[in-house]
């Protein structure tokens, strides 16, 4: 069935239409896509769009909005329809971008070198010496292969006549290539056949070339002990951290390229060499791909207030001991002030004409230019000359009266701070319009194209990141202010070689069997990932057991002794208020409580290990005093504020209504339900958030599937009101348990048993050991007559028990299963043995105090006589459990001291090991 897709498609007048030619017909390179869409059954495109959105959501692709103190992430907005470029069009772009990258490289080498451009009058000296991005400590630096600009990105716009113009250059740490790669992965799945049929060029090879080139130059960074021919240089990706706007992309690239993602604190400079702090000691770093801004890279010589950099990095780079890509100081070229001088510089340095013009730009630092700019202000965009000035572009035509006068006054006062650029009318391309009726509509687009340096010159990524204006102001597109993106298709003249597509080849001929470059910080995060996942699971189970008994409970008179033990456990985890508060007199009027007890917002702290240590004290390692924490008392306040009547309008059919429920029971139920869903009180939602935060430090180590499971876990459950109904709460808890099982499955079955995994696994074991010993201690303090079902349920051991005994649980059998049974993955013994094994494998040596204590406790546990000791109120077992609990906390501290607080010995290098 063919439909008219174009019934509402109109490109704005005076713009170039990417899709249609002057006669209103699809251009040749769009025909195939147009045909496909027109022939499809109605709804196919809608499904495609939904599947794209789902993938974006599940892969967790996001863009951080910097201005937001809470580090809000905006989901990546990916358009289902690609931008298709004609072959000849692309050939021109490619040639122009290669020329421009080569030119910029030469400018960089000159400005930080002999400065002939200044001497010969091709660049105004005041432009360079007054440029906030001109970093004097970087002058005279030498670069392997004479390349200072390793990556380059350029923003292009197509004018009404069909010509492409340069709007801006990205020379410091260009972002977007990773997003382009991810866009392709998703869109490739939406149009699998079309990509092949249209011979769309794959992107993977570009990244391989980039990595190989860096590796080649990295070999030349030969300070210290030289690399063997066959040995791969260590390349790391330096990130400003997870609050950076493009952190997602950095982690994605690190994972894709197989590079350690490091923060400034993971690196250190000694004797002019750069080292990565790993578990096995210091490892020499040869290449740093950086996403940290120039001046933040080195607090010693550049910005002294930077917490993101590596002290001494500038000097290490100056000595040629490390390759920083892009070289420090390359931000200089991002200044729009340079654009007007480029044609002359190009002819001087390359002896050829500039192939692609920049949008007309004037630097107001020249008196004539300033005069002209003020005259035609209405037709210009005014931008800061240097990105360091951190101002947003202003459109002359938007300004009136006072605003206009004050801008002109500011330009006159510091003219060299301003550039003015002519406005380009962006070309328009089709986006899918859901209708009804379905069809295409036109949106303004801009194209970011990427190039990387190789020893044989620059190569351009065959594609790019197309950005789509979504806001009402189609004149600018910035990701910071919202905006969509598109995959970009460039067609090959021959069928691309399928085999290399998207795959990177090893840059070294030596086999690597372990993660020797695992940073101490990463190991710490892995350990906490294990702990937090387990803690999440424990809390979900505890809530489920507690809520079940609350719902089934017939009132205080009918309760068994297990009730108190369960509630004590809940109190220990601060899921419900403590006894005094539960029994407290009816609350004050709600309004007052709310007004006064507003808790301090928990802001993310920029230093990961710190913020982690804070967030991690969530449950297991804390003492009773936790219920006094501000968060807990806030929970109490909130619960107290919702007085007697049923806590939430419940949709589930209630059992026969109780005549009068005691206020404590009402409060307990409300608190438990709140703990399921509220991220502001200790409970499941908060713990999930902790888990997610830890995971986001591990982005590049977790697979996409792993992330998908995590993102499912994080999806906010839909509830009819603020508090979930009992039925809703149970569904959330069941789903959580399933999702956590999936995560645990990945860890068990999908991850290499390298040192990183050992830490993750150890974290899990330690957490479970603490939970089980805590739970059993509570159980042993309860009356002999109490029901034991809840212990089995908390330990996920009901099925095993029933299969073995087919009878009501009895103390001896239950305790045997949960304490001494070596086959039960929830038993204390199983954990102890697992911890000991784990310690051994992460390299804890014998005579380690913590390990020795654990070993002694295990022996003691094995020596228990079932008949005498595995009984209700068993004092010997209780004391042993208390000591196990204490010892596991002590062990966690020792591990942290030994592995995570860094000591600083150089690691031994691996012996050469060749492929057979």
């Amino acid at each position: 069935m063919s439909v008219n897709l174009l019934h509402r498609y109109r490109a704005a007048p005076g713009t170039f239409d990417e899709l249609l030619d002057a006669k209103g017909q699809p251009r040749a390179h769009w025909k195939r896509l147009h045909q496909l869409l027109a022939a499809e059954r109605t709804g196919t495109m809608r499904e495609r769009k939904e599947s794209v959105q789902r993938e974006v959501r599940e892969n967790g692709i996001a863009y951080n909005v910097y201005a937001d103190a809470k580090g809000v992430q905006r989901p990546w907005d990916l358009n289902a329809l690609p931008l298709i470029l004609a072959q000849d069009d692309w050939a021109n772009i490619e040639a122009a971008v290669i020329q421009r990258a080569s030119l910029f490289n030469k400018v960089l080498l000159d400005v930080y070198g002999p400065q002939n451009l200044l001497r010969d009058g091709l660049l105004p000296p005041a432009l360079i010496h007054g440029h906030a991005g001109f970093l004097r400590p970087c002058a005279g630096m030498r670069h392997p292969g004479n390349v200072a600009l390793h990556f380059y990105a350029v923003d292009l716009a197509r004018a009404a006549d069909g010509r492409w113009w340069v709007v801006a250059d990205r020379t410091q740490a260009p972002s977007g290539a990773g997003y382009a790669l991810e866009n392709r992965a998703i869109i490739g799945r939406a149009f699998p056949d079309l990509l092949r049929e249209m011979k769309v060029r794959p992107l993977g090879e570009f990244f391989q070339t980039m990595r190989d080139s860096l590796a080649q130059w990295g070999h030349q960074c030969n300070g210290g002990e030289p690399l063997r021919e066959s040995e791969a240089p260590l390349i790391v990706l330096l990130t400003p951290g997870r609050y950076n706007e493009t952190y997602y992309e950095q982690a994605y690239l690190a994972r894709y390229l197989g590079l350690p993602l490091v923060e400034g604190g993971d690196l250190t400079v000694r004797s002019g060499l750069v080292w990565l702090k790993t578990l096995s000691g210091l490892r020499r770093v040869h290449v740093i791909m950086r996403r940290v801004d120039d001046d933040f890279c080195d607090p010693l010589e550049l910005r002294t207030d930077s917490a993101l950099g590596v002290a001494g990095l500038t000097e290490a780079a100056r000595r040629g001991n490390v390759l920083v890509a892009n070289s420090l100081g390359s931000n200089l070229l991002e200044s729009g002030a340079l654009l007007g001088f480029l044609p002359g510089i190009c002819e001087n340095l390359l002896g050829e004409k500039l192939k692609m013009p920049s949008v007309a730009t004037w630097w107001c630092g020249q008196p004539d230019a300033l005069k002209k700019v003020i005259e035609k202000l209405d037709h210009l965009v005014i931008k800061p000359s240097f990105p360091q000035l951190r101002q947003f572009p202003v459109f002359g035509q938007d300004l009136e009266g006072k605003e206009r006068e004050s801008l002109i006054a500011a330009m006159r006062a510091t003219p060299h701070h301003y550039v003015a650029q002519e406005m380009v009318r962006l070309s328009q391309a089709p986006v899918w319009h859901a209708g009804p009726p379905e069809g295409l509509s036109a949106r303004s687009i801009g194209l970011r194209v990427f190039a990387c340096a190789t020893p044989d010159g620059y190569v351009v990524m065959p594609g790019g990141l197309t950005r789509v204006a979504t806001g009402p102001d189609a004149r600018i597109i910035t990701m910071q202010q919202g905006g969509g993106s598109k995959d970009t298709w460039v067609r090959a003249s021959v069928q691309p070689v399928a085999g290399r597509r998207g795959h990177l080849q090893a840059a070294s001929t030596e086999l690597v069997r372990d993660d020797t470059n695992l940073s101490s910080r990463m190991a710490e995060n892995l350990l906490w990932f294990g702990r937090n996942a387990e803690r999440c699971d424990n809390i979900a189970r505890l809530l489920r057991v507690a809520l079940n008994s609350v719902f089934e409970d017939a009132g205080p008179s009918e309760r068994g002794p297990e009730w108190d033990s369960m509630m004590a456990l809940c109190q220990w985890f601060a899921l419900i208020p403590d006894q005094a508060e539960l029994n407290a007199a009816p609350p004050e009027p709600a309004a007052e409580v709310e007004a006064d007890e507003k808790p301090e917002p928990v802001l993310p702290s920029p230093t990961p290990s710190q913020s982690q240590l804070q967030s991690q004290s969530g449950a297991g390692t804390q003492t009773q005093s936790q219920t006094q924490s501000p968060i807990a008392s806030q929970a109490v306040a909130a619960i107290a504020a919702a007085p007697a009547p049923a806590p939430a309008p419940s949709s589930a059919p209630e059992p026969a209504p109780e005549p009068v429920r005691p206020i404590t029971d009402v409060r307990i139920e409300a608190a438990l339900l709140n703990a399921v869903i509220s991220p502001d009180v200790p409970g499941l939602a908060m713990q999930k958030q902790n888990l997610y935060n830890t995971a986001s430090h591990l982005r590049e180590r977790l697979s996409i599937d792993n992330w998908r499971a995590l993102n499912r876990l994080m999806q906010r459950p839909a509830c009819a009101s603020a508090l979930p109904s009992p039925a809703e709460a149970m569904t959330i808890l069941d789903d959580t348990a399933t999702a956590l099982m999936t995560l645990a499955g990945f860890a068990l079955d999908g991850m290499n048993r390298d040192r990183g995994w050992r830490f993750l696994s150890l974290g899990r074991r330690l957490e479970r050991l603490q939970f089980q010993s805590l739970m059993l201690q509570e159980a042993l303090s309860m009356d002999e007559e109490g029901s034991l079902d809840w212990m089995l349920e908390l330990s996920d051991s009901i099925v095993t028990y029933r299969a073995r005994y087919r009878a009501q649980p009895e103390w001896l059998q239950v305790l045997d299963l949960l304490v001494q049974d070596e086959t039960n993955p929830r038993s204390v013994r199983f954990q102890l043995e697992g911890v000991l094994q784990g310690l051994d494998r992460i390299g804890v040596v014998d005579n380690h105090d913590g390990a020795d204590t654990m070993r002694a406790l295990t022996d003691e546990l094995l020596a228990l006589d079932p008949a005498t000791h595995l009984v209700a109120h068993g004092a010997v077992l209780r004391s042993l459990l208390a000591r196990i609990d204490a010892a596991s906390k002590d062990l966690a501290d020792r591990i942290s001291l030994q592995f995570f607080s860094y000591t600083g010995k150089p690691a031994e290098r691996r012996k050469a090991q060749r492929k057979s």
């Binding site: 200044l118 004797s271 010693l300 006062a413």
Partner: protein, 306 residues
Amino acid sequence: MSMPEQPAGPRYWVQHATHYTYQQLVSLSQQYLHVSPRDFDYQRTEAHRIIIDPPAEDGGIGADFFGNCTRYATITTPHQKLLVQAESTVVLSPRLTLAQIAGSAPWERVRDALVTPHGAAALDAIRYMSSSPHVRCSAELAAYARLDFGPGRPLLDAALAFTQRIFDDFEYDGSATDISTPLDEVLRLKRGVCQDFAQLMIGCMRSIGLPARYVSGYVLTHPPPGQPRMIGADASHAWVSVYCPQRGWVDFDPTNRSLVQSEHITLGWGRDFSDVTPLRGVVLGGGDHDLVVNVTVTPLDAATPA
């Protein structure tokens, strides 16, 4: 013993000791030092050493963008006290006298010639014309400068008069400002120390389009009559160098309303304090710290061996 080419000026021995005391243990300390005197037309270093305690691992010696002597030091021995002590013996050569700086070109001509600079000296001079981290040019500074830089006035004449104006208008006050006090604040307060006065004069000159650089060093002080020179009683000093196409860079000291002659010992120069900070460091650990600096400048007898 070979004779210097120029008639030798005075010799000085300078000791510059910096003591850090940290509240907590420092496990790693990286320092970037600007405490070695540079050699140039008016100064030659006879002897120099830097003592660091605990001892430093890495002694990378180099030159910065402006040609000043630098040194890196990495201290990996855990410590709670750090001493960096530089000792230098320098010989000065006579500088231009008041009579010799008379009759320089009108300042506007110097300014206009630098709009399109020709020659190495001019290309060097324009490095010191723009705003820099501690010196932000402004209309207020320009207005203050014009009080002495009147139409057609010879550049060096105006500069000398300007040092007198700063001396008269401003009060030396060690507590009114700190290293991060911006210039317009200094101009408003009319108080400060040598660094403020030097940067103020630099800012004023740059604001009217003239290059000026910040010089870091020491100045000889004179004990009260009849009293001995006190060890460690001197301090680091800062003054201004002004570019004159005919006479090269000429130094003025606004703190002492003078043309620099034979009592100033130069460490180095840059656009402002941030380019020539004597000690710049990054430490791991440490917590709060105390800092004590002792400088001693001792005139040596020209006949005494170095």
